[in-house]
Subunit: 330 residues, 2 copies
């Protein structure tokens, strides 16, 4: 079985975006629900994610709301709450229509400066009532201004306690950037991945939460490329070796869109810590003229590597995902 642990509903029907516009124009004082039919959901998926799954031979995608649209920085906590609920409900509907193709991962109703504990009710609702298997956690709900405490600060602990209790991991994933310095998919996403890893490296978070698990997407940002730097920084700081310090808790996905990058990832990061992903339909949608294949067809890069054992590939494609997301059972 091939499980893609990182997919967003980037093709959601117009009804969702129409609702969002109405929500914002009503300044949060808005109780209508989006008007989206099951057929519209089917239409939005059949020609996109489902078609691509078939073409590329992946079986199931962990499916969450569009990351760039989480927009935790827009409006207040109540706006974020209502928007997250609608996005998550739509994910639940999509996953219910195609239970063998999708498993649900939720957006959290974060808001700048608001305690992450505020997200617990929505996380519990999604996991306990709707069968979601994980969540996306934004380390920078300000959208590029980085005003929140590091992910290792006690500010985040109540949410982590709930994640541990529910046995769900978080993918560390920012949303769009309203800081003109940072292009969202080209800089902000990758920077956030790198930043979160370094926050983990300098803290004892996983001594406090030995079973807490994070997936760092986009191949871990810059981390595997600079693995020697991170090993050396940890060593200079008298921290334990990275394997001991982090690798029971931190995982990397395979959203790296060329073969040399995937090769590096598989070379330096233990196979136990890599989860297959493509983030389709996502940040990069074109065909690479150097290969004639889609940039984000990450399975091709992995399949083409002959020095990774079949057992390790099975871990990357399925075993590790099941280990990190134990609520996924199929």
């Amino acid at each position: 079985m091939i499980i893609d642990c990182h997919g967003h509903y980037t093709t959601a029907p117009a009804g969702l975006w129409d609702w969002r516009k109405l929500q914002l124009s009503h300044a949060g004082n808005f109780s209508a629900r989006p008007t989206i039919s099951d057929q519209e959901i089917r239409d939005s998926l059949e020609g996109a994610q489902l078609k691509i799954q078939r073409e590329r031979g992946s079986d199931l995608t962990f499916f969450s709301p569009r990351a760039g649209s989480m927009e935790h920085h827009v409006g207040d906590a109540a706006v974020s709450q209502a928007w997250s609920r609608e996005c998550n409900d739509l994910i639940h509907r999509a996953c219910s229509l195609y239970p063998s193709n999708f498993a649900a991962v939720c957006q959290l109703p974060q808001s700048p400066g608001v305690a992450p504990a505020n997200c617990i009710p929505e996380l519990e609702r999604c996991v306990r009532e709707l069968g979601f298997v994980g969540c996306n956690l934004n380390p920078d709900p300000s959208g590029g201004w980085w005003k929140e405490p590091p992910l290792t600060d006690k500010w985040w602990y109540p949410l982590y306690e709930k994640m541990v209790e529910l046995d769900v991991p978080a993918m560390v994933h920012v949303s769009s950037s309203c800081n003109p310095a940072f292009h969202f998919t080209g800089a902000h996403y990758i920077n956030a991945d790198t930043t979160a890893f370094m926050q983990f490296l300098t803290s004892d978070l996983f001594r406090d939460f030995p079973t807490l698990r994070f997936v760092i997407p986009h191949g871990g940002g810059a981390v595997p490329y600079h693995w020697g730097r991170y090993r050396g920084l940890a060593q200079d700081m008298k921290r334990p070796p990275l394997k001991e310090l982090l690798l029971n808790n931190v995982y990397f996905d395979t959203c790296v869109y060329h073969k040399p990058g995937i090769e590096l990832l598989l070379k330096v990061i233990p196979a136990d810590n890599i989860l297959f992903a493509s983030e389709m339909v996502g940040a990069v949608r074109g065909i690479d003229p150097e290969t004639g294949q889609y940039y984000d067809d990450t399975r091709r890069y992995i399949d083409a590597i002959d020095w990774v054992s079949a057992a390790d590939k099975k871990k990357i494609y399925e075993g590790n995902v099941r280990k990190v997301y134990p609520r996924f059972k199929r």
Copy 2:
């Protein structure tokens, strides 16, 4: 000849740091000069950078003030001006004592919210009067809050006009971070590299300045690892191919502290765009237990690669540095 294009005076004598403390405690109203003897300069270099040059067989280092201490966010523009001048003068003295070991690169007296044109007099002084061959440009003088316009904004153009006139490149290099989200050498440096590259990718800066040149240090941040992502993003945005768009103007150094990272860099980035560097004595000072060698001994990684031609290695070690820094003549 082997030229290391990226070295900071991290071992500067105590007199410099004492002076800085006095400067800050006098709130800028301070006219004394640092008390540092030639012998102290020699002592600070003989057992460190010069010893390491000999041990590793590099010939000459492009030497600039300690990046983490540029601290453009501390004090106002006058404080930054006086501090930059002292740091640059000290670099000039070190390079004058060891003219066959060092060439000088200057710190710019940037200050948050102050027009970069303000840096022109110090750049001119360093280049025209003191023989400096380049400068370090901080894309985020706020120290981790990213409040300046992107490097591609016209805000920066007067400085670029002067760089073009003087025919000197800039290494894009942030200083320390006062944002608790960003560890300075583990996140802020690498993020800045990635961010600057994406700013360049989305702009027509090099149409306006066809001969302007930037070196992106630390192996280009996350960029080579995600080269497919960047090629794909440019393509989706209908930008020209990266080679055409950027690679006459943007160069990467080799400060990547493990062999798989260097291999990736040399595999995906054209040899014409790679400049040898180690940033010693710098961010990572230990010995890698996996190799028994210093993490930052980047020459070993390059020398060990047998699929890069001798001609390309000569470019990386010397030719490209001379091309990018034409004021360096030796």
